[in-house]
Subunit: 341 residues, 2 copies
């Protein structure tokens, strides 16, 4: 069994892990292992929203973006997904990943920054980018053979790791937690320039992308996921989207992953922006909506055991203020971090 924190990022602790050294998790999970040369990654979300649910306009924007992704220094991996947002706007979001920040920067300057600089009739667009040092995020996978998100860029999956299956595991997997409480400082600040709104995030803003893939499930398992788990998950996602502000969740999107040409797949993810990792921890471990999700998932997984074909993963980042970029062009005022101001 391995530590989620790779050996080159371990350091003398001033803060303790939550579990004792002889802790053994009750089931296996895995984390992404980047090549040691990688010291910073980029996670960029490019969204387009349409009040009129204009699928053609959304598709045109996304296809243009896809062509740009394919260009020089484009992302090493990206995916697209779709959701209806807090204001009822249909939104398509592309999540793109780089593990070489200079490549991202060059691509972004040449191909990416237009996304929120050139208005598109009938659409709002947004760009939300984190560029965390590898000490400031963690991943977790229920299976070692199905990378998603930033993990697609990893060199490998880890062996079974120790720091999971307890509350506080995400914090303990983030290398910075060895010495840093990652407490939030400051408040997001909105800067308006015509139709463009830029948000300056605060120190230790937190992002989670947490996904599920039910494409391999069959018969009873599929029914159990779709009937017993998914509605409970959706209720929790709706709560965060509509009422999360009071508990420190700025925005939540529950998105269905799509094929390159916009057809739904059997994968979804929730992605949410939080005031702090602590706020996310509190919701996850004690809010009725997540306790219900956790209970449904536990029941599902304990019924099926190792035979379960459902794949789960997440990535959690706690970003420094200077590792964040948020731009919104022509978006309604409850979009993403605009609610944080």
């Amino acid at each position: 069994m391995d530590s989620a924190i790779p050996s080159h990022l371990r350091c003398p602790r001033s803060r303790q892990r939550r579990v004792p050294d002889d802790y053994v998790p009750p089931y296996p999970s895995f984390v992404a292992r980047h090549a040691q040369r990688v010291d910073r990654v980029v996670m960029a979300y490019f969204g387009a929203q349409s009040q009129d649910r204009d699928r053609a306009a959304l598709e045109e924007a996304v296809q243009q973006l896809a062509r740009r992704f394919a260009g020089e220094r484009g992302p090493a991996h990206w995916d697209r997904s779709r959701y209806t947002d807090e204001a009822g706007f249909e939104t398509v979001v592309c999540a793109a990943y780089w593990d070489h920040p200079a490549s991202h920067d060059a691509w972004f300057a040449a191909q990416g920054c237009d996304w929120t600089r050139v208005a598109r009739p009938g659409l709002g667009t947004f760009t939300e980018v984190l560029r965390p040092h590898v000490e400031r995020y963690e991943t977790l996978f229920s299976a070692p053979d199905r990378a998603e998100g930033i993990a697609v860029l990893a060199e490998a999956m880890s062996d079974v790791v120790m720091e999971h299956a307890y509350w506080g595991g995400a914090r303990d997997r983030i290398p910075a937690s060895q010495t840093d409480a990652m407490a939030p400082r400051g408040e997001p600040e909105l800067l308006r320039d015509g139709a463009l709104v830029t948000v300056r995030g605060h120190e230790h803003l937190c992002l989670i992308r947490s996904g599920q893939d039910w494409s391999d499930t069959e018969a009873d398992e599929r029914r159990m996921y779709l009937d017993d788990v998914e509605p409970v998950l959706r209720a929790g996602m709706d709560f965060l989207r509509d009422d999360g502000r009071a508990i420190g969740c700025f925005a939540n999107r529950y998105a269905v992953v799509e094929t390159a040409d916009g057809r739904p797949t059997e994968k979804s993810y929730g992605m949410s922006w939080w005031r702090s990792l602590a706020a996310l921890e509190r919701w996850a471990e004690s809010h009725p909506t997540h306790v219900a999700i956790f209970g449904a998932a536990m029941k599902y997984l304990s019924t099926l055991g190792p035979a379960a074909k459902l794949k789960l993963y997440h990535e959690v980042t706690v970003a420094r203020a200077d590792e964040q970029l948020f731009e919104y062009l022509g978006c309604h005022d409850r979009t993403g971090l605009l609610r944080a101001g």
Copy 2:
């Protein structure tokens, strides 16, 4: 809002609390505040078990004990309760509390030690005593006006405390956690002397008594507790009793509190002995049986809100090896700590 750790027991930390300084729990809870002169308490469980479910013999033993409790230097508070144990034996257990160890010691030498020294036909008896320093246990109450257990001896209840409603709260309420991981060391050791078995506990053995009082509930709330919560609680208690050993639970008793003359009340408690606080934490936060209990309780409490009349409390102790006494006379070999050897 106050800290669960009273000011005279606060010290410079080498270990962190799990929540940030600005954490605000989502609902109120309270802890017992002992007089500052109290530096050690005694929690003693005197049990009698009958394979034949011989209520008359059990009652005679308990009444004799009750008379002794009423004698000089007897407990400041005690209660009696009844359960059927892992072997199907009917058991009555009296939990007795002192906040002056010298009084307990004098009483025990004169009146208490007989309990497991003089055989009673048809009965097994056991004595399980912890005498923790006040730094080594914590209490928690959902209401400030209904003390139970050791808290009956307290000078007062606290104001609303900060360290609760998150996983790890019990640890954070124990003053020793400021500087001590309270990791277990050693193994329990059984010493046989004829029908008497003494168990030497190990360092940082853990005890929880966790109770519920539904006597004030009415109509829908009562139905909801009895139909939706209690069966789930019972299933968890049965799991710990029958299968807890693999996850570090040596013994569990789910007991109904009785009146002085042995009639059931509308109060119950679970009491369990654990290898360590960490093992208890892991069960509580991630085992399907407790996740189900927690989910049922959350649903109940979030449906009823502050109107809920159900009262909840617990006390958790992590004891040094020299703060423990376990004696079993004529008991079956799965009784209490006998399973730990």
